[in-house]
């Protein structure tokens, strides 16, 4: 019995030791250069230039004197695994990449194609498939590290927090993990996308503030989406057009939407959405119907309609559906005509629902068939909640409620 207990203790301790540590290296963390985000770029010779945001842990293990929680280093090499290991011998520590949270790419890099670098991501033992992938829109991609980190210490943390706590709640941007990109790349009838970041000048200016309290010059905006065709970037979707991708290809929960209702705005929170894509073959050609089910909670009502009145709600729901359907349709049309890249996975749906027909289309789906297919968007919206008031605020002399 004692032996069994002892064995159990050893097993439990073993599991805890193995699972509670994030660092499986035999080296002390103070001897490791732990990268939390990496920016991949190419120079004029085609060499890979990697800017790494390292955790600021002094080699001696003594607390840092500076305020910065990160150190930036730039490495260069013919290939990513070489570059990432600092061929110029600048860093005095050993490299540890398993805590990487984000992979930023310069526009130049993703326009050239990402096959080679993904071979490194998938193959290398110091890399894995969890980091988010984001394209930097700015001409000088290094500017991302000169942007405000908001509530976080490092840019890598900003992206992770944003993706995990805002990811489902926005219709304006996407956060794609390396594994999702790889999976979509290998999926028939679907093209890949990446998130986008753009560094913009900070509009807040506090001239009278002390030097150390002054806000950063720039801030990072993650709105929009990078459209890929194969392994190459072909363009971007604006924050408004990103809505169609978010609805069709991803999960949307608690996202805030603004609807144009006869010139006035109704803002609502899409509490729960459900999207169904149907395919029908008509005259040998596929036709898609995207049905979006929205359950809304009104957040602000600027329209003339009373969102607590069931007759008004009915009219509003129709207007909202029309508005949203048009926005989604226009956005799909943009992707069809401008980029000819099926990021929504309509081809995948055709493959799933009409696998034998798909064989006729699969070879030239993106270039020939996808731009031509008819996509009908149907939105079914239900205003479930009118908020915590029963009438429009500020209307004093409204007639007695009907019920």
């Amino acid at each position: 019995m004692k032996k069994k207990k002892m064995l159990l203790y050893i097993v439990v301790i073993g599991v805890l030791i193995l699972s509670l540590t994030g660092n499986w290296s035999r080296k002390e963390p103070k001897h490791l250069a732990v990268g939390t985000s990496y920016l991949y770029d190419i120079d004029e010779n085609g060499d890979i230039v990697i800017t790494v945001e390292y955790l600021n842990v002094p080699a001696g293990g003594i607390s840092t004197t500076g305020n910065e929680k990160f150190i930036l280093m730039k490495h260069k090499g013919k290939t990513a695994p070489k570059a990432v290991r600092d061929p110029e011998l600048v860093v005095e520590k050993d490299f540890f990449g398993s805590h990487n949270k984000v992979r930023f790419f310069s526009e130049k890099m993703v326009k050239r194609g990402v096959y080679d670098i993904f071979d490194f991501f998938a193959r290398g033992y110091i890399t894995d498939e969890r980091p988010y992938l984001i394209v930097v829109k700015n001409e000088d991609p290094g500017i991302i590290y000169k942007s405000d980190k908001n509530f976080s210490d490092r840019l890598g943390d900003v992206v992770v927090e944003m993706a995990e706590f805002r990811g489902d709640k926005t219709l304006n941007g996407v956060f794609i993990r390396t594994m999702e990109f790889m999976r979509d790349y290998y999926t028939e009838g679907k093209q890949c996308v990446m998130g986008v970041v753009e560094i913009r000048p900070n509009p807040i200016s506090l001239d009278e503030a002390n030097e150390e309290d002054k806000p950063w010059k720039n801030y990072a905006s993650f709105e929009g989406l990078a459209v890929f065709k194969g392994d190459k970037l072909v363009g971007y979707l604006s924050k408004d057009d990103t809505l169609s991708y978010r609805y069709i290809a991803q999960k949307v929960e608690d996202a805030t939407l603004e609807f144009n209702v006869e010139g006035a705005i109704l803002t609502a929170i899409a509490r729960r959405t459900n999207v169904k894509v149907d395919v029908e073959m008509k005259d040998g050609k596929p036709e898609f119907e995207v049905t979006v089910h929205n359950k809304l909670m009104v957040a602000q009502n600027n329209t003339k309609y009373n969102v607590s009145d069931k007759d008004d709600i009915k009219i509003l729901e129709e207007l909202i559906c029309e508005d949203l359907a048009k926005r989604i349709s226009d956005s799909i049309k943009t992707v069809q005509t401008e980029y000819k890249s099926d990021i929504y996975g309509f081809g995948q749906q055709l493959h799933i629902k009409h696998p034998y027909e798909w064989k006729k289309f699969r070879d030239n789906w993106d270039d020939e068939h996808f731009p031509e297919v008819k996509v009908n968007v149907v939105v079914k919206t239900c205003i479930d909640f009118d908020g915590q008031i029963m009438e429009k605020f500020g209307q004093r002399n409204v007639k007695q409620r009907k019920y």
Binding site: S19, M182, R183, T187
Partner: protein, 396 residues
């Protein structure tokens, strides 16, 4: 006379399951056999049927010669010399599996966890516990299997549940549209032919309690293997899709890396590694024990028990692992390739026992008689000695 070890049906079933699960847990080879697409999970289910088919000869032999060990059985069917030849062939197969699996485990440890640790250190760390357990005998291995298999199963189910939110049903659709009947069957045959664990039953059925059924034990082991294998395959496919999953050397570990959530469940793949490592040692100790057992039957020296061969077998495997070609992943890929591995397993698991059955059919009268005689002799040996007769009064 040493007391015979008795294993329960569940212990033997767990031994079979632990050993057979290590391939899907490590390589998930079903992703790379035809049709090599989203229907791989169906191939797993179909392969279970082929596994039953391929295991039939050993099942028949085990049932027919219940109570005899492998050495005695082969000796009765094909004679002394023939028996040793058959045992030597089986030994070659077991040693091949032992060495190939040991290298696989060591190389995977190096590739995924301990990249900077020399291969010989990893091999040593694998060999020490497994050799020790193998020397302790079938009872120890059976009891360990009862701990390790539930641990492996629970971990796999835990990770399946953890990954549910990131899974996409589209990744396994369309079902059966891109695969032909022939492809599915080829895939299932190649996958089913990899399952060599019926040999474990063949060898350990000798230790099975009399009241436990051999067939029941086989189906119990196969059910655990089939169910957990389907979960492994489904999890991997649903999260990664077949295209990415079949790229990976260790698809389930890659899957385990993707799952987690919140601030607590971060990098929980350590749990998978922990059970994977335990399972690897389990598989290796079973093969080491089988090798030692067969070697003791071939040597047939009463002074040398099977436990005396555990260390030499491990030492030989260690030396082999130091040879240059064996430290390469390309060698492992070659040895583990569908055709090579499945052919070797198929020969050992199906063709050799089938040949024994055919020989038995030709000589069934003499074999039956010899079997009955041997079993009777064994029974008499096991009976407690009769008390000596009381001396008659007056010397009469």
């Amino acid at each position: 006379m040493t007391k015979k070890i008795h294993l329960t049906s569940t212990q033997v079933a767990c031994m079979m399951a632990a050993s057979s699960l290590m391939f899907p847990y490590t390589f998930l080879p079903v992703l790379r056999v035809p049709p090599a697409n989203q229907d791989a999970w169906l191939v797993v289910i179909l392969s279970v049927l082929y596994s039953i088919l391929f295991s039939t000869p050993i099942l028949i032999l085990s049932n027919k010669f219940r109570g005899l060990d492998v050495g005695e059985m082969t000796e009765i069917i094909v004679g002394k010399v023939g028996g040793r030849v058959v045992n030597a062939l089986m030994l070659c197969f077991v040693l091949f599996c032992f060495t190939a699996c040991m290298l696989a485990m060591a190389l995977y440890l190096k590739l995924y966890v301990l990249a900077e640790t020399p291969l010989w250190v990893l091999v040593t760390f694998l060999l020490i516990p497994l050799t020790y357990a193998s020397m302790k005998g079938a009872g120890t291995i059976g009891r360990l299997a009862m701990i390790i298999v539930p641990l492996i199963s629970a971990t796999i189910i835990f990770f399946f549940v953890l990954g549910l939110k990131d899974m996409k049903v589209e990744n396994i659709l369309p079902i059966l549209a891109d695969s032909s009947f022939l492809e599915l069957n080829i895939g299932a045959i190649l996958t089913g032919a990899r399952v060599s664990e019926i040999i474990i039953l063949g060898l350990f059925s000798f230790y099975l309690r009399e009241k436990d059924s051999i067939n029941g034990t086989f189906f119990k082991g196969l059910t655990i293997y089939g169910a957990i294998n389907v979960i492994i395959t489904m999890s991997t496919l649903l999260l990664m899709g077949s295209g990415v999953a079949k790229l990976m050397n260790n698809p389930f570990l890659t899957y385990a890396r993707q799952v987690g959530g919140g601030d607590i469940l971060q990098r929980v793949q350590a749990l998978t590694l922990f059970t994977w490592f335990s399972g690897s040692i389990m598989k290796l100790m079973i093969y080491n024990y089988m090798g030692s057992f067969l070697l003791s039957k071939i040597v047939n020296n009463k002074k040398l028990k099977s436990r005396h061969f555990a260390v030499p077998i491990s030492a030989a495997a260690f030396i082999l692992s130091l040879l240059r070609p064996f430290g390469r992943m390309s060698t492992l890929h070659y040895l583990n390739s569908q055709f090579i591995f499945s052919s070797i397993v198929f020969s050992a698991v199906f063709i050799l026992p089938l040949t024994l059955i055919l020989i038995y059919l030709f000589r069934y009268k003499s074999v039956n008689k010899a079997t009955t005689d041997l079993l009777n002799a064994k029974q008499q040996q096991q009976q407690p000695p009769q008390p000596s007769a009381q001396p008659q009064p007056n010397g009469k």
